[in-house]
Symmetry: C2
Subunit: 334 residues, 2 copies
């Protein structure tokens, strides 16, 4: 039986939305067990049905908050839902870890408690973003697990991400682009110029530089980036589109009757676009390079995106992603 | 009389849109002269009226194209409209430079032909972005004149940008934020950590780190950034919002009759939002740190944004921005 450890206290709708998602997932995945860590009384109050052997609750008295300093908090809050869940994975009592809470603390738990895979230079965070392409999404790695990067990190992130896309999404030769400040091969600072050379010389299906204005067109399956500018790109795209959508909604609601009637008439079409641009369908952000599947889902998520993330984690286990990473890494070392 | 040198051959609608904008500007600015560089016969064919002493045409046989390598092209294409215009400024025959063409070539013309101001470490490019704040816009510097940066460059860019905002926009104490990968003061790589310290210790109205998802809220008058991630932020925001708007438009047009009727009813409200998010009203991107006002306007611009950019350039001259920069820089050197 596969077992997923879940920090049940992270995110805005914890633990209710998480419990709801687990109930949906356990019906879909009868071979998978879900261990929820947190304040058991609070979790119990949300249960939609009786506990069975697919669900286990483990008491944890502390919660790591969003404003807590990541590394300090995982050292100090030993009885937090996140640290308890991570230690379960480390001890081999669970196979994967999910949290909706403090991203930095989850990364630190993955890197310092669960530990990196042998041969991995730096673990990196890879979310899935929506795209207007036929496939409808792409991955970007790293978006902030590392403030500093070296060219060889970027190459390894691209290799791990490509193996993820092959294994989980069954894309034969994933297209890999390098986020840079121009399209030409000599663009960027020395970090990106050298990364370009390494990617060109690799076995990857490298398509060259991509500029940030083209990200959402989804021309690549994977965009590799240093963690600092990847973080800026992710937040700019999310912030920009969210702010624009809010402005449109507010303009439609706060206008005259004619606009309101018109808004009601276009609502289905608008919702369809929003759905396309929603990250919810695409699961969570994966911390690649650690010894177990570790995924962060957005703190604002309701049950549905959490449910999709549980399916994603289960697939990472059933497809033996970590074992494939290990095989790949041991090849590279030779 | 103030004189603005204009590369009349850059941009998608050259020279017609540029000539149209000049005609609007010369009516508004009777004390200003406009010198248009390019293929005189082509420019003449667009003139809406007879030439007068406010407009001069100067023949230039070559054009620097968007795909040309910037530094090489300004060295080789001596008779291009851009290089001729920049040399006019260098020779003191014009006071400011505008182009809609190859951004890199314009930056190279500003830096290598017109030259940097004494005491400037690295010139930097500063566009104006729309914001949902009351003021409706903010500046970001640098967005790509430099692929590499040092903390002291960021400090100087913030100082120059603050003086621009004081002089041109009459903002008493412009708020300055640092684009970083987190809000806390210790965030970022060493470059951004040190820049944070320098900005904190300066006389500037420094508000701390800002994350990219909050850019368009316009909490600051100026956001300072290394040129690489500033470039990523600018393109991500522009690309993300443009792609989202296209998706919405296409959804409204390609749906059933009911949606089409609704779309017609909401159009005025939607156009208002788009106008707010349009960069056109805000003039062009300024290359700060060179010996004359040098501005780039978007290559896709029609006459209106070019007209606003001409007003912006004229104001930079009438408010003696460059002289104020020189005074500030000589103070700093002491």
């Amino acid at each position: 039986m596969r077992t997923i450890a879940i920090d049940a206290m992270g995110g805005e709708h914890a633990p209710a939305a998480i419990v709801e998602a687990v109930w949906q997932a356990k019906a879909k995945l009868p071979q998978t067990k879900f261990v929820l860590f947190g304040q058991v009384e609070q979790i119990k109050a949300c249960l939609p049905g009786p506990l069975d052997d697919q669900v286990e609750l483990v008491q944890a008295s502390e919660i790591i908050k969003d404003e807590d300093e990541p590394v300090k908090s995982i050292r100090r809050k030993k009885d937090s839902s996140l640290v308890r869940a991570a230690n379960y994975v480390k001890a081999g009592k669970a196979d994967a870890l999910l949290s909706l809470g403090n991203t930095g603390a989850l990364l630190a738990s993955g890197i310092f408690i669960i530990g990196r895979l042998k041969g991995v230079k730096r673990p990196a965070l890879m979310p899935t973003l929506p795209a207007t392409s036929e496939r409808g999404s792409f991955h970007i790695i790293d978006v902030g697990a590392n403030a500093e990067a070296k060219p060889e990190y970027l190459l390894q992130w691209a290799e791990l991400a490509a193996l993820y896309a092959q294994t989980i999404e069954h894309i034969d030769q994933p297209k890999v682009g390098l986020l840079n400040n121009g399209a030409e091969s000599d663009k960027g600072d020395p970090l990106h110029q050298t990364a370009y050379q390494l990617l060109s010389a690799s076995q990857l299906n490298f398509t060259g530089n991509i500029e940030a204005n083209e990200l959402l067109l989804g021309k690549n399956d994977i965009v590799v980036s240093d963690g600092f500018s990847g973080n800026v790109a992710l937040k700019s795209v999310e912030g920009g589109t969210t702010i624009l959508m809010k402005q449109i909604k507010s303009a439609l609601v706060n206008s005259g009757l004619k606009t309101k009637i018109g808004a009601a008439m276009i609502k289905p079409a608008l919702v369809k676009v929003l759905h396309k641009f929603s990250t919810a369908r695409h699961g969570g952000a994966v911390l690649l390079g650690v010894a177990a599947p570790v995924v962060k889902t957005h703190g604002r998520s309701d049950a549905k995106p959490i449910y999709y993330t549980l399916l994603q984690l289960d697939q990472m286990l059933s497809e033996q992603l970590i074992q494939k990473f290990e095989a790949k890494l041991s090849q590279t070392e030779k």
